[in-house]
C-alpha cells in the first residue's frame, strides 16, 4: 500500500431540506440531512458508509453524484470541483461516476428492455455505434452473470437478484472509475446478497473500480470495505480503516452499533455483553446541540452538550488514519 491518490474529496458537504410553514409558505427551518461531512475516497478503494436510517448516508451518496442539490460544500472528483457545476457539464462527467441503487424493482424502468436499460448510458454518452453498443450490452450481461440472450426481455421477467445484476451492468457500461452503491443488497435475501457482494468484489478487482458502499449491514460493510465511515444524524462520527473501526472503535456510538449486531454463534451471543442505547435517534430538523450523540451517550459530559466535537485524526504517524468526532475518544481508546 503506497500512498493512495484521492479520487473523490468531499469537503464540508451540507444538504438541508427547507421546511415551509404558514400562509405565505415562509421557510421556518430545515431538515439537516447532511450537515458538514468531509472525507476522501482513494482510487481503487471501497469506502463503506454506515449508519442507521435517517443518518444521511444515502443523501451523501446522491449529493456526491450531484443527484441531490447541495446546500454547501465542495466535491472534488479527480481533481475537478463538481459541486454546483452546470447541468450539461455534469452530464458529461457522469460517464465516469455511476450509481447502483437499493431497490431492484423500482430502479429499472419497467417499460424498457434489459438491452435498452444497460445500453442507455452508452447511447447517452454517444459511445460506439449501435452495433458496438449491442455487443457491449451482451458483454456486460455476461460479465454480471446473466444470459446475453435476455437482451430483449423486460425487467418484470427477472428476480430481485437478477435485477440487481442488471443495475450493476448498467453502472458498468461506460467503464466508470467511481461507483456509488447505495444499499445495493439490503432488499435481497441472504443467499442472494452474497452473490451480489461477490460480484461487486470481483468487478472491483477486474476493473480497478472505486466504490462508495453505503449500507446499514455492518458485517457486509466490514467484509467489502477497505475503510469505513460511520454517520449519525448528518455527521461523520468515525472514519478509519475497517479493522481499526471494527476492532478498536473510538466513538461510543460505533461501539454501541457494533455491539448491537447479532452474531450467528449461539455461544458467543449468549456470552456477549451488549451496549443497549437508550431512546431513539432525534429529529434531524432539530438536532441536539453539541455532540449530536450526547443524549444517548453513556459518556456524555457538559462539554459534549455544549461543544460540537471535531473530526480528529487520532492515529499516530505512519499508521492508517483513524478519525473520530468525540471529545473523549482518547479516554475511550
Amino acid at each position: 500500500m503506497s500512498t493512495p491518490s484521492t479520487l473523490v474529496q468531499v469537503t464540508d458537504l451540507k444538504v438541508h431540506f427547507p421546511i415551509y410553514q404558514g400562509v405565505f409558505r415562509r421557510q421556518v427551518g430545515a431538515i439537516k440531512a447532511v450537515d458538514g461531512v468531509s472525507f476522501s475516497i482513494y482510487k481503487g478503494e471501497t469506502l463503506g458508509l454506515v449508519g442507521e436510517s435517517g443518518c444521511g448516508k444515502s443523501t451523501t451518496g446522491l449529493a456526491i453524484l450531484q443527484l441531490q442539490a447541495l446546500t454547501g460544500g465542495q466535491i472534488n472528483f479527480n481533481g475537478q470541483d463538481i459541486a454546483g457545476i452546470d447541468e450539461s457539464q455534469m452530464r458529461k462527467m457522469r460517464r465516469h461516476m455511476m450509481m447502483i441503487f437499493q431497490d431492484p424493482y423500482s430502479s429499472l424502468n419497467p417499460r424498457m428492455t434489459i438491452g435498452g436499460i444497460i445500453g442507455e448510458p452508452l447511447s447517452v454518452h454517444q459511445i460506439g455505434t449501435p452495433q458496438e453498443r449491442a455487443e457491449r450490452v451482451q458483454e456486460l450481461l455476461r460479465l454480471v452473470g446473466l444470459n446475453p440472450a435476455f437482451i430483449n426481455r423486460y425487467p418484470h421477467e427477472f428476480s430481485g437478484g437478477q435485477r440487481q445484476r442488471i443495475g450493476i451492468a448498467r453502472a458498468l457500461a461506460t467503464n466508470p472509475s467511481f461507483i456509488v452503491a447505495d444499499e445495493p443488497i439490503s432488499a435481497l435475501d441472504v443467499s442472494i446478497q452474497a452473490q451480489v457482494v461477490n460480484l461487486l468484489d470481483d468487478l472491483k478487482k477486474q476493473f480497478g473500480l472505486t466504490y462508495l458502499f453505503i449500507a446499514h449491514d455492518l458485517s457486509m460493510v466490514r467484509y467489502i470495505s477497505d475503510r469505513v465511515a460511520v454517520m449519525y444524524l448528518g455527521k461523520v462520527m468515525e472514519l478509519g480503516s475497517r479493522n481499526n473501526v471494527f476492532d478498536s472503535p473510538l466513538h461510543p456510538y460505533t461501539r454501541a452499533l457494533l455491539s448491537a449486531v447479532p452474531v450467528a454463534n449461539p455461544k458467543k451471543e449468549r456470552a456477549r455483553q451488549r451496549i443497549i442505547l437508550e431512546g431513539d435517534v432525534p429529529s434531524p430538523a432539530n438536532p441536539p446541540a453539541g455532540c449530536r450523540f450526547h443524549p444517548r451517550c453513556a459518556f456524555a459530559t457538559q462539554e459534549c452538550r455544549a461543544q460540537v466535537p471535531e473530526l480528529r485524526n487520532l492515529s499516530t504517524q505512519g499508521k492508517p488514519e483513524h478519525w473520530v468526532a468525540c471529545h473523549h475518544a482518547e479516554k475511550l481508546a
Binding site: 410553514q21 404558514g22 400562509v23 409558505r25
Partner: protein, 318 residues
C-alpha cells in the same frame, strides 16, 4: 394547519374571479338578452322600449364595464337584481337553497348509506354472488343517465304505482308537512342518488378490500376481537378515509348537477332557478348561481380536506 386552510382560501379567490369572468363572457355571448327574452307574446313592444330597458339594465355598456359593475357590487356583498323579476339575487338564492340542500341531503344520505353498506358487504363477501350482483348493479348505476332514470321513476312510481307524487315540493294546496315533503323529495333524490350510490359502492368496496389486506387488520384478528368490532372499528374507520374524498367531490358535483333533476321534478331549488335564468337570459341570476356553485365546490373541497384531517390523525397540512 390553520395556515394551510387560510392559504387554500386565498388561492381560491383568483380562481373564483377567473370563473366568473369566463361565465360572464359566456353569458353575454348567449343570443338574445333579458329584455328580448321578456317580450311577451300578446303585447306589442316597440324598439324604443327595448332599447330603453336595455339601457336601464346596463346591457348597452361594454362588456368589461358590465363585469366591473357586477364585480364592484359583489365586493360590497350585493349579488345584484334579477333582470326578470328585479328581486335581489341573494334573496332568490336564499329562498331556494333550502330545497336544493334538502334534495342533496336526502340523495346524498341515500347514496352514502346504500353505497357504503353495499360496498362493505361486497368487499367482505368478495367473489360471492352478492359481490357480483352489487358490482353489476354498480356498473349499471353509473351507466344510466340520471335524466332517463328520472323519467322512468316518474312513470313507474308516480303514474303507474302512484306511490309517490310526480313532482313538486309539497302537495299543492296543502299545509306543509314533513311527511308530505319527504314523499315529494323521494323520487328526485333517488334519481340523483343512483349514480352516486354506485360510485360510493365501488370506492367503498375497493377501499375496504385494500384495508382488509392491511397488517393492522391481521393484528386486530390476532387479538381475538369480535368480527363486528374489527369491521366497524378497524376496517371501516380506515376504509372511509378515501371514500370521504369521493363524497366530498360529489358534494360539489351534486350541488351543481341537480339542475336537470330539479327541472324534471319541478323541485323549487336553485337548479331550477338557474335553468329559468338561462332561458330568460337573466345574467345576474346566472352569475349569482355560478358564483355560488363554484364557491360550494371549492368549499366542499376544503371541507373534504378538513374531514380528512379529522378522520385521519396522521394528516397534518403544512
Amino acid at each position: 394547519m390553520l395556515a394551510y386552510f387560510i392559504r387554500r382560501l386565498l388561492i381560491n379567490i383568483p380562481l373564483l374571479v377567473g370563473i366568473t369572468i369566463i361565465v360572464f363572457v359566456l353569458a353575454s355571448l348567449m343570443p338574445g338578452d333579458a329584455v328580448l327574452a321578456m317580450i311577451s307574446s300578446d303585447t306589442p313592444v316597440t324598439d324604443d322600449m327595448i332599447k330603453m330597458r336595455q339601457g336601464e339594465l346596463g346591457l348597452d355598456l361594454p362588456l368589461h364595464e358590465q363585469y366591473l359593475r357586477w364585480m364592484g357590487n359583489i365586493i360590497q356583498g350585493n349579488l345584484g337584481y334579477s333582470f326578470v323579476s328585479a328581486e335581489s339575487v341573494s334573496k332568490m338564492i336564499v329562498s331556494r337553497i333550502p330545497a336544493t340542500l334538502e334534495l342533496m341531503g336526502v340523495s346524498l344520505s341515500i347514496s352514502i348509506i346504500l353505497g357504503l353498506t353495499l360496498g362493505t358487504i361486497s368487499a367482505l363477501k368478495q367473489y360471492s354472488w352478492m359481490d357480483y350482483g352489487f358490482t353489476v348493479f354498480g356498473f349499471i348505476g353509473i351507466s344510466i343517465p340520471d335524466f332517463f332514470l328520472g323519467m322512468v321513476l316518474v312513470f313507474v312510481f308516480a303514474l303507474k304505482l302512484k306511490w309517490f307524487p310526480t313532482s313538486g315540493f309539497i302537495t299543492a294546496g296543502e299545509e306543509f308537512s314533513l311527511a308530505d315533503n319527504l314523499r315529494h323529495v323521494f323520487l328526485p333524490a333517488l334519481a340523483l342518488a343512483l349514480v352516486r350510490t354506485a360510485v360510493f359502492m365501488r370506492y367503498t368496496r375497493a377501499s375496504v378490500l385494500e384495508v382488509l389486506g392491511n397488517d393492522y387488520v391481521r393484528t386486530a384478528r390476532a387479538k381475538g376481537l369480535l368480527q363486528n368490532v374489527i369491521i366497524l372499528r378497524h376496517v371501516m374507520r380506515n376504509a372511509l378515509i378515501p371514500v370521504i374524498t369521493i363524497i366530498g367531490v360529489n358534494l360539489g358535483v351534486l350541488f351543481a348537477g341537480s339542475v336537470i333533476i330539479e327541472t324534471i321534478f319541478q323541485w323549487p331549488g336553485i337548479g331550477m332557478m338557474f335553468i329559468n335564468a338561462v332561458t330568460g337570459r337573466d345574467s345576474p341570476v346566472i352569475m349569482g348561481y355560478v358564483l355560488l356553485t363554484s364557491m360550494i365546490v371549492l368549499a366542499s373541497n376544503l371541507l373534504t380536506d378538513l374531514a380528512y384531517s379529522l378522520v385521519d390523525p396522521r394528516i397534518r397540512y403544512e
